[in-house]
Amino acid sequence: MIDFEPHPTIASVRDFVHAFAESQLRPLAREADEKGVLPLETIKQLAQFVGNRASVMPQETTDGPTDSIGSMMAVVGSEELAWGDPAVLLNIPGPGLAAPSIIAAGTPEQKKRFLDDIFNVDSDEPRFGALAVTEPQAGSDVSNVQTTAVRDGDEWILNGSKIYCTNGARAEIVVVNATVDKASGRQGQKFFVIEKGTPGFKIGKIEKKMGLTASETAEFTLEDCRVSMDHLLGGEAALEPKGSGFKGTMKAFDSSRPSVAAMALGIGRAAYEYARDWAAAQLPMSAAFPRRASIEQKLGTMKRELGAARGLIWQAAWMADNKIPNSKEASMSKAYAPQAALNACVGAIQIMGPEGYSKEHLVEKWFRDIKVYDIFEGTGQIQRVIISRSILGRLD
């Protein structure tokens, strides 16, 4: 039956996370943005608050009612956390994007070793995981990845360079894709786990970005970086012709795209609510005020588009929770939400006029933060390729 009332568990999680975001994340936003980093003490506090298990990714499986609402939980939580602050959100310790690839392709031993043993423990030190796919010459065109892995007995030797890796410099483990068989294209790419401190794993510069400045974006190189066979996700079986290839592993991200879309929605909603409340308090919103109608018009469009984004996100999450293939719908949410949110951020700046671009308010920061959501985790254009192929089939 059509029902838009969230599960009671979801509703209480939303309220709890919102309170956390409002009290813990939002107050850190400006200073974190200016310094480009969050103090270690603050990260430790965040870690204590949520535990290292916390991840913006849905859990693989859990017991009880969360079994079939995990994706909904992830999108609702992501929206609220990003509403608090998206950059601080990315500083909350956890396996991050390393989790879905390990869950999708890893052996039971690898899941225990690289996820449970590292992240599912009580520790004072914040621990991060990371995923590195992008290279200087290959972003959306993943088939052009140049990093190679060459077998040497029971070991692999990796060479190549990766960029734009969130939390890459401080991660305990980084999952990278590398070509083991160039002739097989993307199917010839396999995922490897690189542990912090492995010889040949060299961190390069930390990027300075338009927004999300407090989120660590690192580049690194692999120079004759040796890992043992048990670091190849899926083990030796992954090398068989039907072994877990790149495409299969990336399917795991059908569940993460709605969460990233939900983060974008949270940023857009923050800007919309801020501009709405600012206008009510600061502008003479009476009939005689000449700009009143245009401001109402703008606010209404912002709210409508954000509402549409939430519908698309919740649809994709609901399908995932009910084991309905949702590749198209996940991409729809990821294609639409960042644009709706960007419109909201630009609109908020325009409504607030000279106070909109001022650093006294956070809307200028949200505008800088939001832009990347239409780029990372698959650009809006790649999402549209996925959507149109699922409708039209492969035509080229």
Partner: protein
């Protein structure tokens, strides 16, 4: 029309030709994967009854409405035969069994009915759904005597015409700016887009009283001034008039029921727009896989395939928005802003899909051999009643800034 299209595209709008069959959407197919015993709260799974009803209406839309769309458009009204068939299916006027109907259905189902009929043809759908809206309003909000007097009329063997008059020249569809005055048992004001007024046996006129939104029942025998028959850009199968009311009428008790019923009438416009958008998306998608240019199907070019992707996003966003507003209506909680938000999303989708639908077909889209040019005209005509950029979004915002 080129030979290429003569072979591939049998125009579903030419009478006598076999209509195109329904291609289920991804969601329709996908839900067959797993049917748990009970769905968790937040659920997008229609009930079995809703699915069966959608299938029935889809066949009706594909086989009957598509084939008759052009002839009804030229005639300026839906053919009596189609009105009768829809009446027999029993979905145009939700009517309780005690008044001889097949049962009152909820707003979500009502929107599904409107979407499916509008997928066949938005003009015919607007006529069929609109002619039963008065039964819904009276059933939900009418006094006992009003129900007694009129509802049985909707259950007659012969389908009956009726209207719910909302739109005005100055206010357009802005319920908060209506100028029609309801004063006790008198109503005065000029309404635009009044459906089939000369034939109606009963009508509902929405206006404002000192207490806010108000509505009256106008008996078909009342001598109202039909100023002119509207000659429209689109939706021509739905005959509408400009009507001047300055008559004695029977006030409908005001209150939550009345507001919700009027909001539901407005939401049906959004549901028709949704069906219109989906029709254009599906037609353009199929065309993009079959038409070739530069040695490839045009859908292989991203200038085309990205349009298809954006149309698909707009259609899903519209459906979710409309369903959400309908679900709130069924809980008695919907606000004007909820409905304005849903209609804004649906009408934006209809206009985008109409425009891009024509564009994907290129010159063929502009020709009446294909239906997309009609759907584009229908979408723009529908948008008069709740244009997001002119009325809807301001209504959304007013609820939070006022």
């Amino acid at each position: 029309m080129s030979r290429h299209f003569g072979a591939i595209f049998r125009d579903p709008l030419v009478p006598g030709e076999e209509p195109r069959r329904y291609t289920p959407t991804k969601l329709d197919r996908a839900v067959k994967y797993r049917q748990p015993e009970s769905w968790m709260p937040f659920d997008l799974q229609p009930t079995d009854e809703q699915k069966a009803l959608r299938n029935t209406l889809h066949d009706f839309a594909a086989e009957v409405l598509r084939a008759a769309a052009r002839s009804c458009e030229e005639a300026g009204r839906t053919s009596p035969e189609i009105v009768r068939q829809a009446h027999e299916i029993g979905v145009t006027a939700p009517l309780a069994e005690e008044f001889g109907g097949g049962g009152v259905f909820d707003a979500v189902t009502h929107c599904m009915v409107a979407e499916e009929l509008a997928w066949g043809d938005p003009g015919i759908a607007y006529h069929l759904v609109g002619s039963g809206a008065a039964a819904m309003v009276l059933g939900l909000a009418g006094s006992a005597s009003q129900k007694q007097a009129y509802l049985a009329g909707f259950a007659d063997a012969e389908p009956a015409a009726s209207y719910v008059a909302i739109g005005e020249k100055v206010a357009a569809a802005d319920l908060e700016a209506l100028e029609t005055a309801v004063d006790g048992d008198k109503v005065s004001g000029t309404k635009y887009g009044v459906l089939d007024a000369p034939a109606a046996f009963v009508g509902v006129v929405v206006g404002r009283s000192d207490d806010g939104i108000a509505a009256v029942v106008v008996d078909g025998s009342t001598d109202v001034d039909i100023v002119k028959r509207e000659d429209k850009l689109g939706l021509e199968a739905a005959p509408t008039s400009v009507v001047r009311f300055d008559v004695a009428a029977d006030a409908i008790p005001s209150g939550r029921e009345l507001t919700q019923a009027i909001l539901r009438t407005k939401l049906l416009t959004g549901a028709v727009a949704l069906g219109c958008a989906r029709a254009a998306l599906e037609y353009a998608s199929r065309y993009a896989t079959e038409r070739e240019a530069f040695g490839k199907p045009i859908g292989a070019f991203q200038a085309i395939s990205f349009k298809i992707a954006d149309m698909a996003i707009a259609v899903d966003a519209a459906r979710l928005s409309v369903w959400r507003a309908a679900w709130k209506l069924d809980r008695g909680e919907a606000t004007l802003a909820d409905v304005a938000e849903a209609n804004g999303t649906a009408l934006a989708a209809a206009i985008r899909c109409g425009d891009d639908g024509v564009q994907v077909l290129g010159g063929h889209g502009y020709i009446r051999d294909h239906p997309v040019e009609k759907w584009f005209r229908d979408a723009v005509t529908l948008s008069v009643f709740d244009a997001p950029d002119v009325v809807g979004d301001m209504t959304v915002a007013r609820s939070v800034t006022a």
